[in-house]
C-alpha cells in the first residue's frame, strides 16, 4: 500500500511538473503574440508581423507538448486516483468538463486557423483567431485553478452518507475566495515565463549580433511585459494568495515560512535557513525581525501561529519541501523584479541594447521563471498535504483500490521514458527555430 501511494504520487507529480512547463509559456506567449499582431495592425510595420509569426512557431510546438502531456492528467484522476474521482467527481468533474467544453474546443478550432489560415483569413481575422486562442488558453487556466481552489478550500458542497461530495451551490465554485488570487497570481507567473523567454531570445540575437532588428523588438517587449508581470506577481496577487493561506490554512503558512514556534511580540521573516526537522528549528538562519507580522497583518507585533500550535497529524507531510518551494519561489520573484526594474530603467534611458552585462543576465534567466513557477505550484500542492480535499479527505483515501503497485510503477517508468524523449525532441526543435530566427520568414518570400 505504501509503495502504491508512493508510485502514484510520483507519477502525478512527475507528469504534472513536466506538463506545466508548457502551458505556463503558452498562456503568457499567446498574449504577447496577440500584442505583436496588434502592433502590426496599428503600425503596419512588417517586422511585428514576422515577430508574431516567429513566436507562433514556438507557441505551436509548446502548445502541442502541452496538449499531449495534458491528456494524461485528466486520465490519471480516474486511473490512479479512482476513489478520489468517485467521491468528488460530482464537483470537480463540473469544472474539468467545463474546461473541455469551453476552452479546449475554442483553442483547438482557432489554433488551426491561426496557424494555417493567415492567407485565407486576412490580417484582421487572423488577429481575431489569435485572440480566441489567447482567450481559450486563459479560460483553461481559470477552470483548472477553479478545480485546484476547490481542493484547497472546498465550497458549495455537502457530503452524503456514502461519503460522496455533491454540489449544492454552483456559483460558489467561482466565488471561491481562494480562486481569484490564485488565478491572477498564476497568470502573472505565466507572463513572467514568457516575458523572460522573449527577452532572453532577444538578448541572444543582440549579443550574437545577428537579426538585431528583432533582438531589439524582443528585448523591449519582454522587458515591458516582464516588469509589469513581475511586480503583479508579488503585489497584489502574491500578497492576496499568501493572506488566503494565513486565513484558511494557518498550519501550512507556518511551515512555508519556517515558523516552528509562535513568537511573542511579532514574527521575523526568514530569508535563508534550512529546516532541521529533528530539533524543530532552522539552521543558519538569516531573518529580519517583525517583518512577517507586518506583511501579514500590517502590525509589527502581530502574533503568527507556529507549527507547535497545531496537532502533528495535520502538519504538512513534507515540511522542508514546502519551506524550500516557497522560499525559492519568493526569492526568485524578488530577483525578477530587480532585474526587470533595472532593465526598464535602462530601456527608458535608451541604454539597454548596449548594456551587454545585463543582456547576458537576461539571456541566462530563461530557466528561472520555470523553476519559480514549479516551486510555486509545489508550495500550493505540498501545502495542502496530507489532504486531497483540505480538512475533508486524506490523500491515502483517494487512491485506486484495484491497481497494484507493480502496474503503477510500470506506467511511471513508461511516462519517464516517453517524457525524456519528448523533452529532448522539443529542445532540439526549439533551438532549431531560434537559430533560424524570424528572418527566415522574410527569406521565404
Amino acid at each position: 500500500m505504501e509503495d502504491m501511494i508512493l508510485y502514484n504520487r510520483l507519477q502525478f507529480a512527475f507528469t504534472i511538473t513536466f506538463h506545466y512547463l508548457f502551458p505556463q509559456l503558452t498562456m503568457g506567449l499567446s498574449l504577447m503574440i496577440v500584442y505583436f499582431k496588434w502592433k502590426f495592425l496599428r503600425t503596419r510595420l512588417e517586422d511585428y508581423n514576422h515577430a508574431a509569426k516567429f513566436w507562433m512557431k514556438i507557441f505551436a510546438l509548446n502548445f502541442t507538448m502541452g496538449v499531449v502531456t495534458g491528456i494524461p492528467m485528466e486520465f490519471q484522476f480516474g486511473t490512479n486516483w479512482a476513489k478520489f474521482s468517485e467521491l468528488t467527481g460530482g464537483i470537480i468533474g463540473q469544472t474539468l468538463a467545463m474546461e473541455g467544453m469551453f476552452s479546449f474546443f475554442l483553442e483547438s478550432s482557432f489554433l488551426g486557423m491561426f496557424l494555417f489560415g493567415e492567407k485565407l483569413l486576412g490580417h484582421r481575422l487572423h488577429f481575431l483567431a489569435g485572440l480566441m486562442v489567447f482567450l481559450g488558453s486563459w479560460a483553461s487556466g481559470f477552470l483548472i485553478i477553479a478545480t485546484h481552489s476547490w481542493m484547497q478550500y472546498p465550497v458549495g458542497y455537502e457530503i452524503l452518507e456514502n461519503g460522496k461530495f455533491v454540489l449544492n451551490n454552483f456559483t460558489a465554485l467561482f466565488n471561491n475566495p481562494w480562486l481569484w488570487p490564485s488565478y491572477l497570481h498564476n497568470q502573472a507567473g505565466s507572463l513572467i515565463t514568457s516575458s523572460f523567454f522573449v527577452a532572453a531570445i532577444g538578448a541572444f540575437y543582440l549579443l550574437s549580433d545577428k537579426q538585431s532588428r528583432f533582438g531589439k523588438i524582443f528585448v523591449k517587449t519582454g522587458v515591458i511585459f516582464g516588469v509589469i508581470s513581475s511586480i503583479l506577481v508579488a503585489f497584489p496577487t502574491g500578497d492576496m494568495a499568501a493572506k488566503n493561506v494565513v486565513k484558511y490554512q494557518p498550519v501550512t503558512f507556518a511551515a512555508m515560512e519556517g515558523i516552528f514556534k509562535t513568537e511573542k511580540g511579532g514574527s521575523e521573516i526568514v530569508l535563508i535557513g534550512q529546516p532541521d526537522m529533528k530539533n524543530k528549528k532552522l539552521d543558519n538562519k538569516i531573518a529580519v525581525p517583525n517583518v512577517l507580522s507586518f506583511l501579514t497583518y500590517q502590525r509589527w507585533d502581530a502574533e503568527i501561529k507556529g507549527l507547535n500550535e497545531f496537532d502533528e497529524s495535520i502538519h504538512p507531510t513534507n515540511i522542508p519541501g514546502l519551506y524550500y518551494g516557497y522560499h525559492i519561489m519568493a526569492g526568485l520573484g524578488t530577483i525578477f523584479i530587480a532585474i526587470m526594474v533595472l532593465a526598464t530603467f535602462l530601456l527608458w534611458k535608451n541604454k539597454l541594447y548596449q548594456t551587454k552585462w545585463l543582456l547576458w543576465i537576461l539571456m541566462f534567466m530563461i530557466p528561472f521563471p520555470y523553476i519559480a513557477n514549479t516551486a510555486g505550484w509545489y508550495t500550493a500542492e505540498l501545502g495542502r498535504q496530507p489532504w486531497l480535499v483540505y480538512n475533508l479527505m486524506r490523500m491515502v483515501d483517494g487512491v485506486s483500490p484495484t491497481v497494484s503497485s507493480g502496474n503503477a510503477l510500470f506506467t511511471l517508468l513508461g511516462f519517464i521514458g516517453l517524457y525524456i524523449l519528448l523533452g529532448l525532441l522539443f529542445l532540439m526543435l526549439v533551438l532549431k527555430i531560434i537559430r533560424k530566427g524570424p528572418e527566415a520568414q522574410i527569406n521565404l518570400k
Binding site: F75, L120, L167, T402, G414, L422
Partner: protein, 358 residues
C-alpha cells in the same frame, strides 16, 4: 436527467468516433497505401487543420463522463488501467509525429515520423474497437473469487490478456478473440472512412486507387460484420432484448446497413462527399446499435454476484446534473459555431495548404 446526460455522452462519443475516426483512418491509409511523397502529403494535409480539434471530442467526452457519471469514470478508468495508459502513450506519439514531421526536412526524419504516425493510428483503431468489445462483453465486477466479492462491487481490474483468450473465462483480459475481432472491424471501418475523407479533401493521384481499395476492404468488412454479429449473440445472448421491446431501435442497424450498402457503390458516385457520408452512416448506425442493445447498462457484470453498472446507479447527484445543463447548452452552441467557422475557412480541397506552412 441522467438519461439526458447519457444521450449527450453517447452523441459526443459518436461524433468523436466519426471525426477522429477519419484521421485514424488517414493514418492507416498513409501507412499502407500512400506511395509517393505527394501522396503522403495529400494524406497529412487532409487532416492537418482538423485532427487537433477532433481529438478534443475525446477529452471533452472524458470530462462529461467524469462529471455526469463519476463512479463509472472511477471504476472504468482504474479497471482498464493498462490499456488506457497504452492508449495515452499512443495518442501522444501520434500527435507529436504529426507535429514534428514537418519541422525538419530530412528523408530519414520524415520516414520515422510517417511510420510512427501510421502505426500509432492503426494500433489506436484496434484498441478502440477492442475497448468497445470489452464494454459489450462485460467484466468481472467486484473481482469475484469462489463466489465471494473481493472488492467494492463496482471496482475491477483487467490485465491485457489471459492465456486462453476466451471472452467467457472467469478472469478475462482486455484482449480475447471477441474483442480482437471487434478491433479488426474497427481497423477496417476506419481505414475505409479515412480513405473517403482523403478522397473528399484532396485531388491526389491516390484518390482513384483508394476507390478500388475501398471496394476490396468493403468485402472484408461485410464478412467481418456478419461474423461478429454471429459471435456477438454467443458472447452476449441478451443483446436483442431491447430491440424486441422497442421496435424503433431497428433504425440503427438499418442505417448501418444503408451505409455499408452505399460503400459498395463507391465507384459510381459523382460527388466525392458521398463515400464519406456513407461511411459516417455506417459508423453512426453500428455505434448506435451497440449502445441501443446495452441501454441502460453502461458496463455489464459477468458474475452473478455484483450488479452491472447502469445509467441510474452511476449518475452524479441531481442538482449538479441540472446546473450542468445550463453551461453545457451555452458551450454546445459555441462549439457548433466554431466548427461551422472552421469548416467554412478550410472548405473544399486542401491541396494548396502546405503541411509545413507554420
Amino acid at each position: 436527467m441522467e438519461i439526458f446526460w447519457f444521450i449527450v455522452l453517447m452523441v459526443m462519443l459518436g461524433i468523436y468516433v466519426i471525426l477522429d475516426g477519419y484521421d485514424f483512418g488517414a493514418g492507416i491509409v498513409h501507412l499502407f497505401f500512400a506511395k509517393t511523397e505527394e501522396e503522403r502529403k495529400a494524406v497529412t494535409n487532409s487532416i492537418g487543420p482538423f485532427w487537433d480539434a477532433n481529438e478534443v471530442w475525446l477529452i471533452a467526452s472524458g470530462g462529461v463522463l467524469f462529471f455526469a457519471f463519476p463512479t463509472l469514470y472511477a471504476s472504468a478508468f482504474s479497471g482498464f488501467y493498462l490499456p488506457l495508459m497504452l492508449v495515452l502513450w499512443l495518442l501522444i506519439f501520434r500527435a507529436i509525429s504529426l507535429e514534428l514531421r514537418g519541422q525538419v526536412h530530412n528523408r530519414m526524419w520524415e520516414m520515422m515520423w510517417d511510420k510512427a504516425f501510421g502505426i500509432a493510428s492503426l494500433l489506436l483503431a484496434l484498441f478502440f474497437g477492442a475497448a468497445l468489445g470489452n464494454v459489450v462483453r462485460g467484466v468481472n465486477l467486484g473481482m469475484v473469487e469462489n463466489g465471494i466479492s473481493t472488492q467494492e462491487p463496482h471496482y475491477f481490474f483487467l490485465a491485457l490478456w489471459n492465456p486462453t483468450f476466451d471472452p467467457l473465462a472467469e478472469h478475462q483480459g482486455v484482449i480475447d478473440w471477441f474483442t480482437l475481432l471487434l478491433g479488426l472491424v474497427a481497423v477496417v471501418t476506419l481505414t475505409i472512412h479515412g480513405a473517403n475523407w482523403i478522397i473528399l479533401k484532396t485531388a491526389s493521384t491516390l484518390n482513384q486507387r483508394l476507390k478500388g481499395f475501398i471496394f476490396k476492404l468493403n468485402c472484408i468488412l461485410l464478412f467481418l460484420v456478419i461474423l461478429s454479429a454471429y459471435v456477438w449473440h454467443y458472447v452476449k445472448p441478451i443483446s436483442l432484448h431491447n430491440f424486441e421491446s422497442n421496435n424503433w431501435l431497428w433504425a440503427f442497424p438499418f442505417i448501418a446497413a444503408v451505409g455499408l450498402f452505399g460503400l459498395f457503390r463507391i465507384k459510381k458516385f459523382k460527388k466525392d462527399i458521398s463515400g464519406f457520408i456513407f461511411s459516417s452512416l455506417f459508423i453512426f448506425g453500428s455505434f448506435g446499435s451497440t449502445v441501443a442493445s446495452m441501454f441502460p447498462i453502461l458496463l455489464p457484470s459477468t458474475n452473478n454476484i455484483n450488479p452491472s453498472l447502469t445509467v441510474q446507479n452511476m449518475a452524479a447527484h441531481e442538482y449538479g446534473l441540472s446546473v450542468g445543463l445550463g453551461w453545457f447548452a451555452v458551450a454546445a452552441v459555441l462549439v457548433i459555431i466554431y466548427f461551422i467557422i472552421q469548416f467554412k475557412v478550410f472548405k473544399g480541397k486542401l491541396d494548396d495548404v502546405g503541411y509545413g506552412d507554420h
